[in-house]
């Protein structure tokens, strides 16, 4: 059985600008009146800061949803 080989073709950058960045975001939003609306509201709040990649509501307190998330966004090379 031959050893695994490293593919030798260089991987070129897709372009000089923009480059993707990952950012940790924490935010709060009011608790929606309907649970049906909750996920859409969270995503809308995060989308103002980037494309949501992974998120969670971490607590509910005083009428607010506390949210932590990683979003991706375009930055400068």
């Amino acid at each position: 059985m031959p050893f695994m080989n490293c593919n030798s073709v260089n991987i070129k950058s897709s372009g000089p600008n923009p480059i993707m960045q990952t950012q940790l975001i924490t935010t709060t939003i009011p608790v929606p009146t309907s649970v049906n609306q909750m996920q859409a509201d969270v995503i809308a709040a995060l989308s103002s800061q980037g494309e949501p990649l992974r998120w969670s509501i971490t607590k509910v307190q005083s009428g607010l949803l506390y949210i932590e998330a990683i979003v991706t966004c375009d930055g400068e090379a």
Partner: protein, 347 residues
């Protein structure tokens, strides 16, 4: 005839779950549930025990971003007999550590008969930064996500149908947190960043993916917790990832192919973790959500906080009983002590 009884099991990554927050220590839960379900859908954090893993033919190994898409009804799961795995290595991994991982991959080919493409090294070091948020959950950011995605694209071009990623993680600078984790307390300092890496690839390419961190071996510690001990066994955490990915289902957007959320009968989660995407999606469906109280986490989002209708149980043992009753079509109230209220005439 009824459709295959299908159960989802989620223990979110990096939230300090007392069961499943360490090194594959929710695997016994899935092994037990797999005995009472026809199919179980779960994610790498539950199944991965570094050098330890367990082959369960009726368990579908699905990365977390894919689980969220599945729960939302956006993606289906198409079981496969095997995947061809592409191994993606971070350029930031030192030569000796890279060899350790390559030898695991070659060993998996020789001993398990797994199918791998040639490997790819990223064109830049990926530069992971570990983060901890106010909740106590761990997260992470990646310095060069484009480099990660370019390498994944290369593997797919080589024929990979699943991607195993190994990224050099920083040696944890918080010695107290690391010691707590190794002793079975606290939050896995790496887990949140690991999820970000695999989410990036699954989101971009809709392909099965899982991650193993590359780290220098730690000094021997006789007080290691059994829950964390799986990560002390070898030089890498890669074996479980390769085993899991070898049969991980593919994602489909063809409505009449594969398994879709409308066939998920039940979902088992820690009671404090109701604030994730998959739970919110499934709360709007016929899936029975079962919340387990004793699997505490750093999250503080309980069903009552969001107005979710769930079945609350104390332990995973009780959850397994609830699944058996649910599968049999028996209301849990019929199994409890005490009077059953007489039916009333509805106004």
């Amino acid at each position: 005839m009824t459709s295959p009884y299908t159960v989802g099991v989620i223990v979110p990554t990096g939230v300090g779950a007392v069961i499943g927050g360490y090194a594959g220590d929710a695997l016994p839960v899935v092994r037990a549930i797999a005995q009472v379900a026809d199919r179980v859908i779960t994610h790498p954090n539950v199944m991965n025990g570094a050098s330890l893993y367990w082959n369960l033919p009726n368990v579908l190994y699905v990365e977390g971003f894919g689980i969220d898409q599945f729960a939302a009804g956006a993606w289906g799961l198409q079981p496969v007999r095997r995947n061809r795995i592409g191994l993606l290595l971070d350029r930031g991994i030192e030569a000796e550590l890279r060899w350790r991982h390559l030898q695991v991959a070659d060993a998996a080919r020789a001993t398990l008969g797994l199918d791998l493409t040639d490997y790819v090294v990223t064109d830049e070091a990926l530069t992971v930064e570990l983060r901890s948020a106010d909740s106590g959950a761990t997260w992470g950011t990646i310095g060069n996500p484009d480099s990660l995605l370019r390498a994944a694209a290369k593997l797919i071009a080589l024929g990979a149908t699943a991607i195993a990623v190994v990224v050099r993680f920083p040696e944890t600078t918080d010695a107290a947190a690391l010691q707590a984790y190794r002793h079975g307390q606290g939050v896995d300092p790496l887990a949140g960043a690991e999820a970000v890496i695999s989410h990036l690839i699954v989101r971009q390419f809709r392909i099965p993916c899982a991650h193993a961190p590359a780290l220098s071996p730690l000094p021997i510690d006789p007080a290691i917790s059994p829950r964390s001990a799986a990560e002390e066994l070898g030089y890498t955490f890669l074996p479980c990832v390769l085993a899991g990915l070898s049969r991980a289902p593919q994602f489909t957007q063809q409505p009449h192919q594969g398994i879709w959320a409308d066939s998920l009968d039940a979902l088992v989660i820690p009671a404090s973790c109701c604030g994730g995407s998959a739970v919110l999606s499934l709360s709007q469906t016929n899936t029975q959500i079962i919340t387990v109280a004793e699997n505490t986490t750093r999250m503080q989002v309980y069903p009552k906080d969001l107005g979710l209708q769930t079945l609350s149980v104390r332990s995973y043992l009780e959850a397994i009983g609830a699944l058996v009753a649910h599968r049999a079509g028996i209301t849990t109230a019929s199994l409890a002590a005490g009077d059953i209220a007489p039916l009333q005439c509805s106004p």
